[in-house]
Structures are given as structure tokens and as C-alpha cells.
């Protein structure tokens, strides 16, 4: 499925300084849905080029990284359990740098 990933707040520095990534992600084997949990590990493998620890901690984003799914706080949609659909826009913003 086609997704738009946006990185901000310094996170784009971890992926070739490119803020917007149009990507194609396949459903994981034997699953009907794509969850944020799967997407995060996909992003970590396929999009993040350096210092993945700035982006993730354990199996989720590092505390201080804000996630918006279609302009909505992912804390409202179940965080890692959020189901992603075709054409969704997912924004990752680090709050950790700069004032």
C-alpha cells in the first residue's frame, strides 16, 4: 500500500535529510492489516539510514517523538496497534532538539 511518511524536528537527518518519503509497504506475511508496530520496524529497516536509536527505543518510537496519523495524535488511535490504510500520511516529529 502507498503511504506518505514525513519526518521533522531533526529526524529527517536520519534519512538523507529528506523530509517527505512516498513509500510502498506490503502487508506482513499472513496478516490482513498493517499496524504501526509493523510499519515502525519497516521504517527502521528501509528508511532510517543512521542512528536508529534516535528514532526508536525498543519496539516503539523513542519517547519525545510525536506521531501523527492523518493529522491525528497516534495516542488516540492506539499507538502501535493503529491500523494503517492505503494513502495514509504518517508524520514523525522529534521534540528533542532546539528551542
Amino acid at each position: 500500500m502507498q503511504l506518505t511518511l514525513e519526518f521533522g524536528g531533526g529526524l529527517e537527518l536520519l534519512c538523507d535529510s529528506e523530509k517527505i518519503h512516498k513509500v510502498n509497504v506490503d502487508l506482513p506475511n499472513g496478516e490482513d492489516d498493517l499496524t504501526m508496530k509493523h510499519l515502525l520496524s519497516w521504517v527502521r529497516t528501509n528508511v532510517i539510514k543512521e542512528r536508529p536509536e534516535m528514532f526508536m527505543k525498543g519496539d516503539t518510537v523513542r519517547p519525545g517523538v510525536l506521531v501523527l496519523v492523518n493529522d491525528c495524535d497516534w495516542e488516540l488511535s492506539g499507538q502501535l496497534d493503529t491500523t494503517i490504510e492505503d494513502k495514509d500520511v504518517i508524520v514523525f516529529i522529534s521534540t528533542l532538539h532546539g528551542g
Binding site: G8, G9, G10, E12, L13, K19, D32, R51, M54, R62, P63, G64, L66, L68, V69, D71, C72, D73, E75, L76, S77, G78, D81, T82, T83, E85, V91, I93, T95, L96, H97, G98, G99
Partner: protein, 378 residues
């Protein structure tokens, strides 16, 4: 399979905003855990800051107020919100943006661009002062003189004073900075860890330096970083392309304090405290406000000898010594003795740092003073 067809793909999306009960929520507020919609978010975000300003009497009508503008997210959102509130509630403030150019090649260029655009977009006048204006030296010149090893001393000391010196130079009544609740909680923690009671009692005050030449205040003291970050991120849907532009420029701008800025500011331990705060926030978002509260409620026994706060004989900045750290460092630079005032170097104007100094109150203060690098003062 069939059963799940009808229910919303995104749990929570079906619920309504708990403030207006009409619209779809877009944000879970860390402060209250309420799920609120975009419109209500703007309202409560701005209204709370207004209440903080009014409740603490941060400003008086007619005051000339400098907004310390780094081009980063906090100061950019602060500039935007403050100019809005000033208009909406007739504060009667003469607001302008104050930016400092350290003179580090390539470093500020981007963020100064941002501040310049803020000037146009919010109709706020902009003053840029350089280290050259404030100290007579650019950071690059200092590095050339002393080498890369010691410049964190200069950077920390000069940066700490830059806004105050700039504000004094421009004769403002007040200086506001974008320090947010997360910053303050982090500072409380660090001051506790360091046993720096002098700063601990000061760092939670919403206004500091009222006895000095220019008071400083922090209207975002109770504002969560998460909300500051999300504020411009959600703007684009509500407004036209102009604000979309603001959003892009804000999200672009806070990349200008990138991880590698530490070339001149090695605040690594601050990073650990920050991470700890963020871990706590994830477990229990209230923790940030609770830490601020415990900092505020910290009582210091009256028998404790607190460092006496004097002012620098040269520049008037707060200093427990005859000359403030910046003036000592500058004297060294100007005399071609750049090591003066760094670490154990002897023969400085304030005497040997390791020995008891001539001024008794100052020596009592010595043990309470923190290291020069990465000061935790706001």
C-alpha cells in the same frame, strides 16, 4: 472477520472531543489526558497561556518586551502566540524579536532566516545582535584564538548572558523566553542531582531577575513540549497557505539545532535528563507538572548559607564574584591570555578558583556554584 467490518478501523476515532462534544478529537492532552479536537486545542492552548500571563502579572501595559528568538520551535510558537494574545487581549505591549548571532559559520544562517520570516509574518520587528556587538568577538574568532578544546566554556558563558546583554543594549523592560514545562522539569532534576540549591530555588520561578536590570519571564512554564510541537503541525488544516508556510518553516527551523550543534555545546548529560523526563512522561504525563511543583515547593532551611548574589563590577550582570565569568573570559581574550578564567588557570581577576577567595561571601558561594559549562540558569 465479519464482525470487525463495521467498527472503526482506528479505535478512538469514533469518540468525540470531550470539550465540545461535537468534533473528532485529534490530540490527547498530556496535561489532562483529555481527547480534544483541533479547534478546542487552539482555544485551550492559547487561553491557558493567557491565564498564566494574567495570573502571574507577567506584563504591564506599555512595556517594551523582547522575545528571545532562536528560530527554534519554542520561541517561534511563543512569538506567534504572544503577538496574537497581545492583539486579542490588548496587553499594550511593544513586542519585538531579539536574535543572537554567535558568529559560527554556517550554524545560525538557517535559523536567522526563520526569524527574519517570522518578522514579516507576525509583523514583529526583529533585532539581530551578534557576539561581535555584545562581546567584540565572534565565536569563530574565539575558536581561532583558543582552539577547539576550551570553547565550550566560552560558549556556555557567553550564550547564557547574550540575551540579557542584548536586552540591556536595546533598553527593554522585559525579556521573554520559550522555555517550556519539559525544560523546567529537566532543570529541576538536574539541579537536584547537582545539589545546586541556589539554582533550584530560582529555576522554577516564572519571572527571574526582577532585582536585576532586566527581568526574564517564561510564559510557557506550564506548557507541554508536545503541545508546542503539535500546535504548528496542526495549523495547516485550519488556515490558508500562509500559515501552512509557517508550519513548514517551523518544522524546518527546529532542525537547525541539530544533534551536531554540540560542536560548541557539550551538554550531553542534559540529554540524559531529557530522556528520563520523556520516559516519565510516557508512563505518566502529569509527572512533568509534578516535578515543577516539587521544585517550587522545595524549602531551604533558613540556616543554609545561600550564595550572595552581587553584580559584576564591569557589566552589571549577576555574579557572585567581582567580575562575572563572561567579563573574566573577555579580559583574557582581549589581553591575549585566552586560558584565563578557564578551569584551574591561575591569576584571574577573581583570584585562584581552587582557593578561598578574598571576598568571604563569594567563597561561601563557591561550593554551591555549578560548573560553567551548560548552565542551568534560565
Amino acid at each position: 472477520m465479519e464482525a470487525s467490518e463495521g467498527k472503526s478501523k482506528k479505535p478512538g476515532a469514533s469518540r468525540l472531543c470531550c470539550l465540545c462534544n461535537q468534533r473528532r478529537p485529534v490530540l490527547k492532552r498530556p496535561k489532562t489526558l483529555q481527547q480534544i479536537c483541533r479547534e478546542c486545542f487552539y482555544e485551550v492552548f492559547e487561553e491557558e497561556i493567557h491565564q498564566v500571563i494574567v495570573g502571574n502579572r507577567l506584563f504591564k501595559s506599555g512595556e517594551r518586551v523582547a522575545i528571545g528568538a532562536s528560530g527554534g520551535k519554542d520561541s517561534t510558537v511563543l512569538a506567534y502566540v504572544l503577538s496574537e494574545l497581545n492583539r486579542r487581549h490588548n496587553y499594550g505591549l511593544d513586542l519585538f524579536l531579539l536574535s543572537i548571532d554567535e558568529g559560527i559559520t554556517g550554524y545560525r544562517d538557517d535559523s536567522l532566516e526563520t526569524v527574519k520570516r517570522n518578522e514579516v509574518q507576525y509583523g514583529l520587528p526583529l533585532q539581530i545582535l551578534s557576539y561581535k556587538d555584545l562581546y567584540g568577538w565572534t565565536m569563530d574568532e574565539i575558536v581561532k584564538m583558543i582552539g577547539l578544546k576550551n570553547n565550550c566554556t566560552f560558549c556556555g558563558v557567553f550564550r547564557r548572558q547574550a540575551l540579557d546583554r542584548g536586552a540591556a543594549l536595546l533598553k527593554v523592560d522585559k525579556l521573554v523566553t520559550g522555555h517550556n514545562a519539559d525544560d523546567i522539569a529537566e532543570t529541576v532534576l538536574l539541579n537536584i542531582l547537582r545539589g545546586d540549591i541556589a539554582r533550584l530555588s530560582r529555576c522554577t520561578s516564572i519571572t527571574t531577575g526582577e532585582d536585576g536590570p532586566i527581568p526574564r519571564c517564561k510564559p510557557f512554564k506550564y506548557t507541554y513540549e508536545k503541545e508546542i510541537v503539535i500546535y504548528p503541525s496542526l495549523l495547516k488544516l485550519n488556515f490558508d497557505t500562509l500559515t501552512y508556510d509557517i508550519r513548514m518553516l517551523i518544522s524546518r527551523s527546529w532542525t537547525t539545532s541539530p544533534p551536531n550543534v554540540s560542536i560548541y555545546s557539550p551538554n550531553a548529560y542534559r540529554g540524559f535528563a531529557r530522556e528520563f523526563i520523556k520516559d516519565l512522561e510516557r508512563l505518566r504525563p502529569r509527572a512533568i507538572l509534578d516535578i515543577i511543583k516539587s521544585g517550587e515547593d522545595f524549602r531551604i532551611a533558613t540556616t543554609t548559607k545561600m550564595p550572595e548574589q552581587g553584580t559584576c563590577e564591569r557589566c552589571g550582570y549577576i555574579s557572585s564574584q567581582k567580575w562575572c565569568k563572561a567579563c573574566v573570559l573577555l579580559e583574557g581574550l582581549n589581553r591575549g591570555l585566552p586560558k584565563m578564567g578557564i578551569g584551574r588557570a591561575r591569576g584571574g581577576v577573581n583570584g585562584d578558583h581552587k582557593k578561598e577567595t578574598k571576598k568571604p561571601p563569594a567563597s561561601a558561594a563557591k561550593s554551591l556554584e555549578s560548573k560553567q559549562c551548560g548552565s542551568l540558569d534560565f
